[in-house]
Amino acid sequence: MACHEALSSTKIKVKQRSVIVGIIGNPNVGKSALFNKLTKGRAWVANWPGVTVEKKIGKVNLGEASVKIVDLPGIYGLTAHSEDEIIARKFLLQEKPEIVIQVANAVNLERNLYLTIQLLEMNLKLIIALNMVDLAEKEGVEIDIHGLINELKIPIIPIVAIKGVGIEQLVETMIEQIGKPAASFKLDYGEEIEEAIEKISKIIDSSMRKLDLGVDSRWLAIRLLEDDNDVIEQLKSRGLENVIRESKHIKDELEARFNKSVEVLMIEKRYHYILSLSRKYIKRRPDRESLTFFTNKLDKVLTHPIIGLMIFVSILYLLFKLSFDVVTPLTGLIEVFFSHYVYNLFKTSVLPEIISSLLADAVLNGVGIVLIFIPNLLFLFLGISFLEDTGYLARVAFLFDKWTNKLGLSGRAVVPLLIGLGCNVPAIMSTRTLGADRDRRLAVLMIPFMSCSARLPIYLLFTLVFFKENQIMIILSMYFIGVVTAIITAILFNNLLFKGQTVGYVMNMPPYLVPSAMSVLVKSWERVKSFLIRAGTIIVLLMVVIWVLSITGPEGYLGAEALSDPELLSRSWIASFSKLLEPLFKPLNWDWRIIASLMFGFIAKEVVVSSLAVLYGAGEQGLPSVLLSSFTPLTAYSLMAFTLLYTPCMATAAAIRTEIGLKYTLIIVSYQLIIAYTITYVILLIGEVII
């Protein structure tokens, strides 16, 4: 309520109607916590243009002005080296926010000041929200806030974001700052560099008459001296090659004089300034047994190569238990509600048969498939958000980094990959925690190969019929094939699709914190909502398409009973397509019924079993004896492998599309089909030689 009280009690008249405020800061400093406090959960998630990095936007009213608050990705600087830095800089330059709030961690303020200097150099109207001041106090860190305000000439507000402390004062300061000019800041880089900046600025100023870039010429000059590729490209696109040429000449002269890179010289100057600020305004009591000390001790256990791994597996087990085992009664309730109660309501309604079948078999089934995931997703995201906010996921990344780096992934990717063993959909959604776009794409491409629990009924059926003696070993071999294929996929795509894109990043170990329940809930709900809205619509649409293809055929409308009648179903479009594809699957010795049941498997992998039962006209009870007469152990094993590897189910495909776009969805679907076909064929060939 603090935020709203501040808003209503203020007597300051706000003139602007619409204002943009950006929240920026290093990773893990509490940006999201502050964002949630300021927006009170009235936020929505989108992607930044062209990439799949999350963009969180919220709206609040400040008096007469409507304020759009944007949560920017966590960054260490604005040099445009990483995707996140490019996004943040583009936002600052193009959207020109009225106010930029930098969230800084009071426990290690020095680390945050580099970004502060870069923001001030852009002549932005900056407010520093000095977060975690309570922790800093416990740590024995004393910050002379008034001294820093006088030095930097910007407002600095101490806050504790997760507890809501200082938010009221921050909002008041924001209102005060609207309409005021930005404080001017000029870091002295020394005589020679300043001279070079001056010269380049003049060249820019004379050329800028032609084109308005909307940025300060001093800032552009500094960026040019630091060889900023993004700025160089911008100038090139505006035909300002002469500026680039002349600035390069000035830079080369300077480097020849110092025998050192100008970029390094300027970075050194910035750090020198930070050191002087830190000496003047930040004091630490060395005698104190601090929380950092305990954090370090916890790290010794949690990142221990053996004990750390045991703890990780145990926590993952707990996460699985929570999201797949504990919620079973809830998913059961949803299933019963939809597949019995509402289904029968539609089926027995007075509506025409085709309408009631459309509603019950297509729309309702689609809605059911979407809603049935909600309990799993919610519990899983609650667990992941909790672990994320405590700071544990950063340790997991550290624990696995040296192994996953070989595949071109960050250590954090281990969590979504292992979740994939339970269900691919939440696993793909949980790649959102990875941050880097490249990491997310690679992890999403690997996840469909992780054998999810929906494939288990198929394994169980075939192993019970054909491999009774070695059931566990055969099922384990499926998991093994899946993991190996995922690793090969990572190596392949890393060298083909993402070639030359570096993984390099700084690993930040945030202090352990007790997470705020509000922050965990909001984060989890946002992720579930995103699935519901974006994946849900596609699933329902696809269900309708499959329904139409099942109840109609070359002869026309077959009737809704085609869904349960093998004779009618064999005359449907799905059956016709399957028969058309039969020659393609001849090398695998499959008839059209298997192909058709695999097509139905696109709805959900477990549907393969019930589809086989319908298509063979056996019913689920009589299916084993039919299978024994139609399959050999070898063809059964190859079908199991195909089911594991071929196209992901509809919900997974929708999740992939939501997360990394249609292009990659099509790539992965086609790639999986090819891989599944090849591996199945190889299994058959090897099997025939051995047996």
Binding site: F294, L298, V301, I307
Partner: protein, 133 residues
């Protein structure tokens, strides 16, 4: 402090013993009674083993700084599994409301992870003082 280390040893041993009995049960294909005093599946055995190792590690290294950290993690893990089981129990009660018996409720409350989790709480409160004061 001495009391605390003894308590730690007791909890760690309880975790280890119950998971060992479960493993013997599986390997020897015998059924030892009071099943609610054993972990419910192989995953839980691994969980119990880790927690047991952490408690015993904390006991053995009780004079070293790192023992506080391992004890702290072990306590959190004990309480976490207890909470998950409690949530499990509450959600499953939706089914129990329609088909329950008193015995089933008592069986759930008597689960070893819930008992050990509750036993960990006083130790966690004591640890809180050690860490923050």
């Amino acid at each position: 402090m001495k009391m605390m280390t003894r308590y730690t040893l007791l909890l760690g041993t309880a975790y280890m013993v119950s998971s060992l009995i479960y493993l013997i049960e599986i390997m020897a294909r015998v059924e030892i009674s009071v099943p609610q005093l054993l972990p419910s599946d192989v995953g839980m055995v691994f969980y119990f083993m880790t927690v047991g190792v952490l408690y015993n590690y904390a006991f053995i290294k009780s004079r070293e700084e790192v023992s506080n950290a391992s004890l702290f993690i072990a306590l959190l893990m004990s309480i976490a599994i207890m909470l998950v089981q409690v949530v499990n129990f509450i959600i499953s009660s939706i089914d129990l409301l329609t088909s329950s018996t008193r015995a089933e409720i008592i069986h759930n409350i008597m689960r070893i992870e819930v008992i050990l989790g509750i036993l960990s709480i006083p130790l966690l409160l004591k640890m809180r003082k050690v860490i923050y004061e």
